[in-house]
Structures are given as C-alpha cells and as structure tokens.
Symmetry: C2
Subunit: 355 residues, 2 copies
Amino acid sequence: MGGEKKKQALTDIGSLGEFGLIDHLTKGIKIRHPETLKGVGDDAAVIDQGDHVSILTKDLLIEGVHFDMVYTPLKHLGYKAIAVNLSDVYAMNGEPRQVFAGLAISTRYSLEALEELYAGMLLACDKYQVDFAGGDTTTSPSGLMISITAVGKAKREEVAYRSGAKPNDLLFVSGNLGAAYCGQLVLQREKQAFKANPQVQPDISKYPYVIERQLKPEPRRDIIRMLRDAGVKPTAMIDISDGLASEILHICKQSGTGAMIYEEKIPVDQRMAQVAHEFNIDPTTCALSGGEDYELLFTISQKDYDKVKDMTAIHPIGHITEAVQGENLFTSSGQLVKLTAQGWDPLKGETGSKE
Amino acid sequence: MGGEKKKQALTDIGSLGEFGLIDHLTKGIKIRHPETLKGVGDDAAVIDQGDHVSILTKDLLIEGVHFDMVYTPLKHLGYKAIAVNLSDVYAMNGEPRQVFAGLAISTRYSLEALEELYAGMLLACDKYQVDFAGGDTTTSPSGLMISITAVGKAKREEVAYRSGAKPNDLLFVSGNLGAAYCGQLVLQREKQAFKANPQVQPDISKYPYVIERQLKPEPRRDIIRMLRDAGVKPTAMIDISDGLASEILHICKQSGTGAMIYEEKIPVDQRMAQVAHEFNIDPTTCALSGGEDYELLFTISQKDYDKVKDMTAIHPIGHITEAVQGENLFTSSGQLVKLTAQGWDPLKGETGSKE
C-alpha cells in the first residue's frame, strides 16, 4: 500500500517524450497470429479475414484534455468522437462498418445531455453508414470520457499503410490545413472573455468556418472513393490529427525515407489565415503543427499523377526523398528548414496520439 | 456556454437505473449491414467475416470506480484489464486473438508504473495467446483510465448468444462464486485501517484466495475448450461480472424465458464463506450479487447432460422455465424467492455494465 510515495525517485513519463514513451512501452510486444497483419504503428490495426481484411482503430477522448465542455456542444462532441475514428479507417484506405462506444460519465450529466451525445454519435453513424454495434457505460468520478472503437473492411491489397512511400513518390494533402486549430484559438479566447465577465455573451458568429472545422470535423470518405474510382492506390497514407509536420515524419519513419515539401504549396484557407493573423501566428505554423484537421496526407507513385492532376480537392505539396536527405520544408522566402514534430508532451497534456 | 447551469431542471441519469438508461439511449439504433450479426445486447458484438465470425468487446476501467490504486498493484491491474475482456469473448464461445489498449494517464504516474501496467497486460496476452495489436495513449487530468477492446474468432455456428436458452435447458456455472467480492471487502477494510493508522501495515496474508480472485481473475478458456472437446455447445452463455442474479436475468430477458435455481446448488468456496461470515454477510448473497468472479453461466440442452455430468469444474444450479414463471431462487430453507438484479446504479457509482 502507499506505493505512490516513492514517485520522486522514479522516471517522469514526460522525460521520454510522446514517441519515446510509446516505443519504450511497446518494444516487448510480439505478434503471434499470422492473421494480425499490422499491430501497433499505423492509424489502425489490420487483421486478415481470409478474402478481406478488418481494420480496427480506437481512440480516447477525455474531458479537459481533448475537449472543453464550456464550448463543446454535446451533439458535436458525439459526432466528432465517431468522425475521428472513421478518419483512421479511411486513412488505411478502408470503409468503416461498425463502431463501439465506451462512456464514463459523472452524475452531473443529465439524461438529456447523454441523449445529445448519443444523437451526435448516431448522426455520424448515419452519415457514414456505419453500425453502432455496442460498448459499455460506466460512472466516472469526474468529467466525461469517451472511448470509441471503429471497425472497417478492405481488400487486402487495397490497404494503405504508413510504410509504403518510396523516393520520388508525390506527397498530397486533401482540403486545407490549420483551420481546426484556429477554431480552437477562437473558442479558447471567448471562454476567457466569458470567465472574465459572464454577462458578455461570446461572439463567435464572425468565425463560423474555423469553429466548424474544430467542433465538427468530417472524415474524408470522398477522397478515398475518388482515388479508388480513378484507379489510384496511395503508396502510403495517414490522417492529419497532430499537424502536417508530425504526420510527414510518421510516414518517413515507417517508410524509411525523407521528404521535401514546399510552403507555398501547403493549402490554407483564407478564413483560417485571417484568424491566424488576428492571433499573430503564421498560417503555415498552424498548418504544420495545429492538428485536428482530419484531412488525409498521402503519397502516390509519379506514374499516377495524370489520373489525379485535375482533382481540385487534393493538393501536391512535395515529394518523398531518400532517407539521408531528411524531412525538409522549402519556405516561401527560399530557406530550407528541417521539419520537426510538435507531437504530444504528456507534461503539457495537450493532445493524444496513436501508438 | 454555461449549458450545465440548467441541470437542476433536467432528468437525473440515476432515475432510470442502469438497464433503463442503456435501453433508453440505444433504442434508436438500427443495424444497416447484414454482416453485423449482433450489435448491442450481448457480451460482445458479432461480425460475419464469410467463413467465420469476429467477436468484439470493449470495456472501460476507471480509477476510483473499478479499481483503487491504494490496494491494486499495477501489474495485476493490467492483467485484469485484459482478462475481463477475454472473458467476454470466451462467453460468446469464441477464442480471443487480438487486444487493443487505450490508456489515459495523469502525470503523477512514473514510467516504472506504466511499465508494470504494460507488463501485466502483456502477461495476460502471453498466457491466453492473444496479440497486443495497438491502441492509444493520452493524458488524463486525474487518475488512470484503461479502455480495452478484445477481438476474437469463432465459427458462425459455434457462437453462444445470451438469447438461445429454452425451457427445460439446464443452467450451469463454472468454478465458484462470491470470492472476488469477498476479496474486495478485505482489501477495503485494510485500506480503512491503513488510513486510520499508516504505521500499521495491512495484514492480508490470511486471505490469499479471495484477494487473488479479486485482483487477478482468470477467464475460463478451459471451460470453453472442455465443452467443445465434449461436443457440447451451450444454448446460451454469459460471463459473471455483475453477480449471478443479474446474469440470470440477462439470459432470461434475451431468451424470453424464466429460470429456477437452487441455493444449495450454488457453488461457494469454503474460503469465501469464511470471509463472508467474518463480515456478517450471507455467502449466497455474495454469490448472487457480488460480481467480478468472471466465471461462466451457461445453459445446455438436457440431451447433453450425460456428456458433462462428470465434469467437476462446472455445476448444475437449476433450469430454464417458461417466461411466465419468472426467475426464482429456491432457498435452502425451502422458500421461493424472486431473483432481483443488483445491477449498477449510476448514483452509487459502484461498477460498470455492458450495453
């Protein structure tokens, strides 16, 4: 008993950094069953089912870490909880089919609040045609925790891992980046204003686009299907949950490559750039490190370029290089900058990350 | 903003009770994909994979609700977190193959503490030959939360649902019941003694059996395999996480039947009965309502009785009746008592339950 008293003499979990911690804890893991085609280290696990594969992913959303009840409507929260897991399945080039939800709730939530949360989850299930297939509900001593598991399906040869990028492959992103982060900046500012003077109602009507990107992200099913219809299979793919820089490093690490991207090619929306300037932040920084956009980052073989060059929803931002060249950003002012992961620092407690 | 201010006018989640709450929230759910053979309402979901089925289950374990760090060694906790999910897969008559773990950790945990937790999870994976195939790690503003998803495999015709029991089927339980609950009583008493006087080290050496049943439950793979080897498929099956009474009600509700069980047939261990008496609790009450034993409750057709009658690890406790007869306990003193679920009351915050 009282085993925590010794903590001071032990190693702080923050000292390893996010990826160090995960690598350290999972290094002893061995896979026993040949059907487990992919375990830790991608957006999702892949299980061989004979004539097809299952794709499995899970995520935890914790109140006070991933969402703030002051400015997160519960219906949006339920929708987002499902959406971000579906995004992981799409990022493997699969189609999600079932979701499972585990909820831990404190008794300060009313039945009506839970109904809103469920309504949001079921709305996302409806839109993306997945079955809400189970889970569990329990009490929480404080706050709300949501654990979602999503299960998808794909042909074995269709699965896009993080590890398949090759030098000279082209790097693409869908949509635009940085907006979800800017939405969070606005919401946090309004929260502070509200705390300072509760009589002042927040004015978020000026920023509908970035706030919607933060509160109600949409997984890019459309991109996956568009590429499939065009006969293009990404050589590597990942969804952008932690920011573009971090995801590029994931692909390069798993693929054993480097990458070169061009600042002027990074797609940013004018409405995001306006908010970024209001906060005195460089829009490129929002795109590289903001996270939560749930766009797709993927690589394709150069031979497929003609098939995608007229698609306006995706944007080439650079190419894959040999590993020795590292991961670099060529800035609009002509400088070459090394890409660094912002990642997740457990001591800061900002955001989560997949193993 | 400030949406929680209205709470007083809203419906308390405790007012519906556990099963009322879950029924209420999940009643709008429709299944779209024919491959989703079973969604909410059993120990696990079942997904058709063509020549076999996948069995999926998930559970949340929350510090302060499901475990108390004062008396739960982290290695045991990791082991138990995996074990209870494997138990759900066995309760569907499947073999678990992969597990996924989501952890939310506060920074007061050291790296060494997390290593212990992982060591326990991997030990259970090793013993039950399942692959640790992924998950995610994030921060928690307070305490430790563990979300496990287990995936199993079975032939489609082998799956044992809660809904398959028929009148005159025989009811069996494996092992013995009530010990895990008595283990918790001992641990809680020692915690109180420790809080009253930290100089007094807890004396739990007198109760190794019940404490082990609480801290390190073993899922009953042996029972599943023994029945399979004997050519017996349970008509219905469930694992005992909430207590025998509650699980019998689940089977009866899903099967549209009643049940009659006999107090004198309920298997209790002498070491459990001794602790129960020390706490002035009836051992039968511990067995009926204690929970966390992770034994199996199952029904078999009478024609299979000869195949199982010499198995010492399982015990007939009664039989299934028509629904109109209800669920009853025939006590050792000759009284007929209606079985009632203790279930989970969100206001008490005692334990969780599967949807």
